[in-house]
Symmetry: C2
């Protein structure tokens, strides 16, 4: 079988870039098995050859460092340019030149896509190449591709999301630990969730760029930054969060794009979110999107919105989509299914007068299990419809041990069921 190759040049070898390199090399064999295409990293663009960590990376993963974009673009064997420099300049000029040289481009650059997709997408189209940007919105959450396929034939009514992990972390800490905005920001900076200059995050600018990209994907509209009504969270006080909670709401910094008749409403703003809205459940640095559409109804998706590994995985997903022109192959890595021993919980009813019996005798059940000790990890009792119930949870058990334990418990009273559990 002929080995097709996909040859890649990396622009930007920072935390996401080097993770992309590492994961691509690690996944070369798997991606080949899935697609019949072998990915090869050929170049890494650097500003200077002095950077030792980049030299090490290039040496370890067998690619060539170059300080010349021309060198990359003139190499006709290069299929894809992966841009992970970030911000608008010179990333935009580099991408324009790469597209004009008929290279596919994959990027995580939200600032750029938000502002220049209107220019870059037609340029890619005219040159017969693809511009992939799954990583530009909500890091590791698959949202760009689903909006191009799953929701493309539906009418999207609104997308609301927690699109910035830094501010969600700050709001969470302000609520759960009654920290001031300043103290929560400092904590976020110490933990690496906020940059030393947090302006883009806390003023809602980062989320506004994502709102612009979502508007492009959901409504084929190319809003300007000025079209987004942007409010950050710098004026939010812990008392507001506490009062809102009392009142049944959480305050979240939401990015929103909504269709209103023939117009779009685009905004980023702190917002009261009802506790039974799934967005209210999303805490710390997690991102989430709630999509309302006419045919499907409500779709909710949450996951990591940033971080080198999730973002790099979205970059790889674009490469995978690029080469995936046929169904997955059928390599059979896991030929055998297997039933794991699992943690079981017992729900046991006991007559009122015996209340507490199970609890006392629970430890004794250990001797009834042959090959494995049933370690009682939790035990308790409750009342439902004037009946008493006792329950206990064990360590993971083999099915033999479970059967033996159930038998021994049955001697003590009525076992109404046993059931696995997950945290």
């Amino acid at each position: 079988m002929e080995v097709k190759k996909l040859r890649i040049a990396m622009l930007g070898l920072g935390s996401v870039g080097s993770k992309v390199v590492e994961l691509l090399v690690k996944n070369t064999e798997r991606m080949y098995q899935m697609t019949g295409v072998e990915i090869e990293i050929v170049y890494g663009l650097v500003r200077s050859f002095d950077e030792e960590d980049k030299q090490k990376l290039a040496k370890k993963f067998h690619f060539q460092l170059t300080d010349s974009l021309d060198h990359i673009l003139n190499d006709e064997t290069i299929d894809v340019v992966v841009e992970l420099i970030g911000r608008v300049h010179p990333a935009k000029e580099y991408i324009v030149r790469a597209l004009e040289a008929k290279k596919h481009v994959v990027t995580a650059n939200k600032d750029l896509l938000a502002q220049y997709a209107v220019e870059l997408l037609p340029l890619a189209y005219q040159n017969g190449v693809t511009l992939g940007y799954e990583a530009s919105v909500a890091g590791g959450i698959p949202i760009v591709h689903p909006l191009k396929t799953q929701f493309a034939t539906d009418q999207i009514e609104s997308i609301r999301g927690i699109l910035n992990g830094t501010t969600n972390f700050i709001l969470t800490k302000m609520l759960t630990e009654a920290l001031s905005y300043e103290a929560a920001l400092t904590l976020a900076q110490e933990l690496g969730f906020a940059e030393s200059d947090p302006t883009n995050d806390v003023e809602g600018i980062d989320a506004a760029y994502k709102v612009m990209i979502l508007a492009q994907l959901a409504f084929h509209s190319y809003p300007k930054f000025e079209d987004v009504d942007v409010k950050g969270l710098t004026t939010i006080q812990p008392s507001q969060l506490a009062v809102a909670k009392e009142f049944g709401y959480k305050i979240k910094l939401l990015g929103e794009v909504r269709a209103l008749k023939d117009q779009l409403s685009l905004r980023v703003t702190p917002c009261l979110v009802a506790m039974d809205n799934p967005l209210a459940q999303i805490d710390n640095e997690t991102n989430a999107l709630l999509i309302k559409s006419t045919q499907i109804g409500e779709t909710f998706i949450s996951g990591p919105g940033a971080g080198a590994a999730p973002t790099a995985t979205s970059v790889l997903a674009d490469l995978q989509a690029l080469i995936l022109k046929k169904e997955l192959g059928s390599s059979n890595q896991y030929p055998q299914a297997f039933y794991e021993n699992t943690t079981y919980s017992f729900l046991k009813s006991a007559p009122k007068e015996k209340f507490g019996i199970v609890m006392k005798k629970a430890k004794a059940t250990q001797k009834f299990t042959n090959d494995q000790l049933a370690d009682i990890q939790k035990i308790g009792h409750t009342t439902f419809l004037e009946e008493n119930y006792e329950w206990l949870v064990t360590n993971p058990l083999s099915s033999e041990a479970l059967t033996a334990l159930l038998e021994s418990l049955t001697k003590m009273g009525t076992v109404i069921g046993s059931i696995p559990f997950i945290d």
Copy 2:
């Protein structure tokens, strides 16, 4: 510009099939604008020409009814066969013949994909066509495509999901209304969430098929039905649900596929799910999946798992994916962004002695808004760190009305902020 066509034959014109027809016709123009390809429904396969509703549908949407699969497969202008007959036979034979005739196939048939993907996917590959089955797992939730791209280069550790809406509805009603299993099932049947013969749902068989498909996508493994450890929910009692809740868990019927060293664990079972696990928040007929993977971490997605419109939208998504070989076009349907008047909530602090003042005077603020009445919809007070706070919520206001209201409130005390809210 040349108009490319994608010509379609429908096998099956039931509730999903007729919805697919309706949505395809409705979206022809949009899909053309996005992809440059025009979709045309050419045939509908029927067992007999006597079915009046199918004759009506064909007439309304201008396609031809035929009782001959040969007629469809011999028509070289047909590109795609959409199979929505359901169950294994004769759907499998039809799909095999369609693939052999080099037609792309899109299907929602989970029974078939679960058991015969191992045979059908290579057949599609050998014939250079695509087999799309986004609708086969979790209805309107995008999961098949994301598993082929976003997660394809990640290592999936586990997928756990609420994969059957009928049983989730039953469990929800058993908990919230303390109904017996039988009463909850009857209610589900009355509301159309359960079939008259509910065996496939309540015994976990439907969920097991979905687990098999998830295992294929996530692990390129082709388990047999016997490889799945399947338990249904027919023995669950309301007391178990109530006791589990007391104990901090909800009981959900979960489908699971997990990687354990070199083996897979596949099961469907009622399971205790901790309340802070997002799966515990999914009630009624909604479906959801929690994907754990090495690079991305945790991704959660929820939405409608069944229903004609969501399922039909997933079928359309497969067609969209089939023709989407380039980026989206740039039709500009919504040229102007717009800031909607929105419901505002006020968080107001008041000194202890004035407690209740705002509440009394709230109605009076109406006169201060010029162009619009500020109707007070909710009002209340609470205490935080020994300070008293009062809050109120209004109807949607114009920004002028909002400013006027804020001014009037400021005269009565310290307004600490105003913030939009969503339910």
